[in-house]
């Protein structure tokens, strides 16, 4: 992509919606030092009290892209930021289009459509005005240790162009006091990227992906810094076309694992699960706070142990997945 000096957009959409053309920050002025978290959310109001504060602590700016939520996610985010005195570091923008779900629906959607995951992500990241950006999900919670690590990385990568990979662990929340942490699957994904034309989003098979170069330097964070919330009382696969859609390729192994653990917990078969830890919080403390502030920082390392023999997969298998997010 080449810089434009006449103010014309860097990327237009097939629908001809000029308000949602894309103009990259690096073409419109100097990018400030620091990192912006980009949170793309749809109906994540209940998670905002846990998701947002650590990101406000670890990065300089947060851009929350609300994709037509019906549960007042944006209001919840505003309220949380105000409680932490960080209103001026939270930007909320709306993206009103129905975005294709991962899997076959995504595959059938043209990349330059406003309904495409790739276009949606590019538009979301075009809001960033700092030198680095961090892709973050509306259900991912950084631990206390994770805040320290990401805050440090924000300046440690300033003199170089590096991609930051962070492992995350699914946390299946049963209620305010009980949750199940899946330590049976090693899941490392790329979250932090320098903001430049070499690292934009393109369409891949099941979902979008952010482009990498062969000579990109990668820095990998250790385990135990982030959890991904999965509420057992919610439909956690609604962003997929169907469960069958992620039963097809090695790239979707993580989703299969999530589905299997989720189903087993919903059906009361938790004793069938290996390396899924039941955690109960002390009186007066929510289990998500307990896991992210105390349990995980204090847990013995390494968290995800060696692979289970192949014949016993997939329920207990520890796998290493390093690839695009869904």
């Amino acid at each position: 992509m080449t810089p434009t000096s006449d103010g014309s957009p860097d990327l237009t959409n097939l629908e001809g919606l000029g308000d949602f053309d894309i103009r990259w920050g690096w073409n419109t002025g100097r990018l400030d030092p620091g990192t912006t978290t980009v949170l793309r959310v749809k109906n994540e109001a209940r998670s905002m009290p846990w998701v947002l504060p650590p990101m406000l602590a670890a990065t300089q700016q947060v851009v929350l892209v609300d994709n037509a939520s019906t549960d007042a996610t944006a209001d919840a985010a505003r309220e949380v930021a105000a409680r932490h005195g960080a209103q001026d570091r939270l930007t909320i923008v709306g993206y009103p289009f129905q975005v294709s779900r991962c899997g076959p629906e995504h595959l059938a959607t043209p990349e330059r459509s406003v309904h495409s995951l790739a276009y949606y992500y590019n538009w979301a990241f075009s809001q960033v005005r700092t030198a680095y950006s961090l892709k973050w999900d509306g259900d991912m919670v950084l631990t206390a240790e994770g805040v320290a690590v990401l805050d440090s990385l924000g300046w440690q990568v300033q003199s170089t162009e590096a991609i930051i990979a962070i492992p995350r662990h699914p946390l299946f929340v049963a209620d305010d006091r009980v949750a199940y942490l899946d330590l049976g699957w090693r899941n490392m994904e790329f979250y932090g990227y320098p903001m430049n034309a070499a690292h934009t989003f393109v369409k891949a098979f099941e979902w979008e992906m952010r482009v990498m170069r062969d000579d990109d330097r990668i820095i990998r964070a250790p385990e135990g810094l982030a959890v991904e919330l999965k509420y057992l009382d919610a439909d956690e696969i609604s962003h997929w076309t169907s469960p069958d859609a992620f039963a097809t390729s090695p790239r979707t192994g993580r989703k299969r694992r999530e589905w299997e653990v989720f189903s087993a917990l919903k059906e009361g078969r938790e004793n069938e699960l290996e390396r899924v830890v039941r955690i109960e919080s002390p009186d007066g403390m929510h289990v998500i706070d307990h896991v992210t502030r105390r349990w995980l920082p204090g847990a013995d390392r390494p968290l995800v142990k060696a692979d289970i023999p192949r014949g016993r997969r997939p329920l207990g298998a520890a796998q290493h997945v390093l690839g695009p997010n869904s």
């Binding site: 620091g34 320290a148 805050d151 440090s152 990568v157 300033q158 820095i219 964070a221 250790p222 390392r301």
Partner: protein, 364 residues
């Protein structure tokens, strides 16, 4: 000096300590394990304690995120908390691994608090010039100070922190250390009794260590001096505001960016010098091999690349290159790595790597 004084007031320095020597007969108040740990990690990342490269922070960040060193540090810290509730950790190398220490403290449910001593940059450069020989030069010493101070300041944001002027400590240590103890709630300072305070008076010698803060006669480029002076002014604001002066931290962000840009420009300009130095290193290595094995049948017949270029007529040059044996994969790789870095790898490991690289594929 500060850590020694705090130790006199009862703060626990994990044992064993680095033994005193002639340069510091009163002791360093540094834990040997910490120094060795940091030394090892710096060696593994090819970063030296006075590294002026902004990118060196990325290199130490990478190793700081590896599981094994994190586990080692956390285990050691846990053992030390078995000895005392408040620990005093001092090492000039610590700044390179601050993020790992912060994480280890969180894992141990401890609250890290950081003290940064401030000393005028020109004085630091003079002091290092006097005490440490080396190839860094005064421009390198000044940029090392900038790199260290700008990034240390950034690294300690968000934690409890205090900036102390070295000269304030010399002028009136009671005021400086009481403020520090008050800020961190250090019981040893707040509850110090007469013998404790007397010991610190004996320990601190206010007549020592004044080198003068003038840049006169120091061979440091103007741009570097100006950056260092501006950084010094901004850091001083943090002394009076317990590290929280927002206008100062904003200004220091700008200065850090300016330093990174300055360094990148200098590297870009100096690229020819860097290439020449690499070629010289290869040349010296070739000569060393030739000197070490004068009877080697093939090597002895072959001029080095530089000699071939300067001393041989074109036809002979071609012949010489034909007669030179093809470099092995290990030789080719070794030629790309600076000598200093190669020398840092233990010889046993170098031999094994060479053997691996030179292993020929088996015929099928």
């Amino acid at each position: 000096m500060l850590s020694g004084a705090l130790q006199q007031l009862g703060l626990h320095v994990p044992a064993p300590e680095v033994p005193p020597d002639d340069s510091n007969p009163k002791g360093f108040a540094e834990s040997q394990w910490v120094v060795d740990f940091h030394d090892e990690l710096l060696r593994r990342t090819a970063v030296h304690v006075s590294d002026a490269r902004p990118q060196a922070w990325f290199e130490t960040a990478k190793i700081s995120l590896k599981e094994r060193p994190r586990i080692r540090l956390h285990s050691w810290l846990e053992r030390q908390f078995g000895e005392a509730d408040e620990l005093l950790i001092k090492d000039p190398r610590l700044a390179w691994f601050m993020s790992m220490w912060r994480a280890a403290a969180i894992q141990s449910a401890a609250e890290p608090a950081f003290v940064t001593m401030l000393r005028p940059p020109a004085e630091v450069v003079r002091s290092k010039e006097r005490h440490y020989a080396g190839r860094l030069g005064n421009a390198g010493r000044a940029t090392a100070w900038l790199n260290m101070m700008l990034h240390t300041e950034r690294a300690t944001r968000g934690s409890e922190r205090v900036f102390l002027r070295y000269h304030d400590l010399l002028d009136d240590w009671t005021s400086a250390i009481y403020q520090l103890g008050d800020a961190f709630g250090l019981q040893g300072v707040l509850n110090a009794d007469i013998p404790d305070i007397s010991r610190v008076h004996d320990f601190i010698d206010p007549s020592l260590h004044r080198s003068g803060g003038s840049w006169d006669d120091l061979d440091v480029p103007t741009g570097v001096r100006e950056l260092a002076e501006e950084t010094w002014q901004q850091l001083n604001k943090l002394v009076d505001d317990r590290g929280g002066a927002t206008d100062a931290t904003d200004a220091l962000d700008e200065l850090r960016t300016a330093y990174i840009t300055l360094y990148a420009d200098a590297e870009a300009i100096a690229r020819s010098s860097i290439m020449a130095e690499r070629l010289n290193q290869t040349l010296r290595a070739d000569r060393a091999i030739a000197t070490a094995a004068p009877d080697a049948p093939v090597q002895a017949l072959v001029p080095t690349a530089a000699e071939a270029v300067t001393a041989q007529p074109p036809a002979a040059r071609t012949q010489a290159h034909r007669r030179r044996p093809a470099a092995s994969p290990a030789d080719r790789l070794a030629g790309l790595i600076p000598h200093g870095l190669r020398a840092a790898v233990p010889s046993g490991i170098r031999r094994r790597l060479r053997a691996l690289l030179d292993r020929r594929p088996r015929k099928r």
